[in-house]
Symmetry: C2
Subunit: 199 residues, 2 copies
């Protein structure tokens, strides 16, 4: 969450109380959205932050802008996990799978994130998000490394990853079974070129 969410160059520095309030708002929004999801109302957030809606709106021109800011934040954290995994010299498969698991864990704790992953709005976010963070590129790299090591199925495609996350988002808010989902999905990603049966 960098300073210029509003994307103003920064003609004048923010006034002290404004800074304070902005922090409270972001804090409250994070909590509210992750607990109650995207349907959280602006007024709830304002109340929770101890400010008026007006104030909320001065800091974020629109609900969508607020959501977006928070989501980008989360995505950046994931992107960092991915970066770390790239430096990890251990099992390439585990490096790849580990990032997905981390992402999943983060998603369970944040209903809004889950919703964004799984529903329409995503469309809107995707380009913006994946362009900003290098998440997609890094995941692709991790996947390829696992493939080169013969651990991931050769025909797996970086484009499959958003699919997995999308499904994950849906699964999460209905069941506690996301671990199950991930397990199945990851097995699907593994290298299974070893023939098993006459078919």
């Amino acid at each position: 969450m960098t300073t210029s969410d509003t994307a103003t160059g920064d003609p004048r520095p923010l006034r002290a109380d404004a800074v304070r309030n902005r922090a409270k708002i972001v804090e409250a929004a994070k909590a509210a959205f992750s607990e109650r999801g995207l349907e959280t109302q602006m007024e709830d957030i304002a109340r929770r932050a101890g400010v008026g809606v007006g104030t909320l709106y001065r800091h974020f021109p629109t609900k969508d802008a607020l959501v977006r800011a928070l989501i980008v934040d989360k995505m950046e954290r994931m992107a960092e996990h991915a970066k770390a995994a790239m430096k990890d010299d251990g099992d390439p498969w585990e490096a790849f799978a580990g990032v997905l698991r981390k992402g999943a864990e983060q998603t369970v704790r944040d209903r809004a994130l889950a919703q964004v992953f799984s529903s329409q709005p995503q469309e809107a976010y995707r380009t913006a998000l994946e362009d900003e963070t290098e998440l997609a590129a890094r995941m692709a790299w991790l996947l390829r490394r696992a493939q080169d090591a013969g651990l991931a199925r050769p025909d797996a495609d970086p484009a499959d990853i958003p699919i997995v996350m999308c499904g994950l988002g849906a699964v999460i808010h209905n069941e506690r079974n996301w671990e199950r989902y991930l397990a199945l999905m990851l097995d699907g990603f593994r290298n299974t070129t070893v023939e098993r049966l006459p078919e």
Copy 2:
């Protein structure tokens, strides 16, 4: 879609025009919901059916009731596929996977169904739906048979199936990649007890 959606015993038979209108409504609702999803407005449906909203509401007391009726319908169709698959003596794995694929195909063509599968409301529907149709029981049977034949992973659980469908619902309305999703997921379901690597 049986006669008594409104669940009245049936004190008096429905009047001729009422029957006609009900049919038009169901028809319109099916089309509208599958094209535009759950956010379709009641008035759209009414217009499409060539009746007034009032009429719509006399037949279905609530939007939710209407949706539910249509969804149950779809579920019943799936349950029939499952039943057919049970009688099929071919490859047990294909029988199981085939039903999932059929379900997926049906879901791609119906946005509302996809939404129900993937979002919160499902909670509300699930019990009602799966109790009415025997879908769940049948899928469980198909899965077990595939397991007994050594074709599905031994630790797969009937409870995993709703998870798959849930993820599917989410994936579908964002990508054309549902086939990819299913492929990965199904591979996850396969028997992979053959060790591949020293681990």
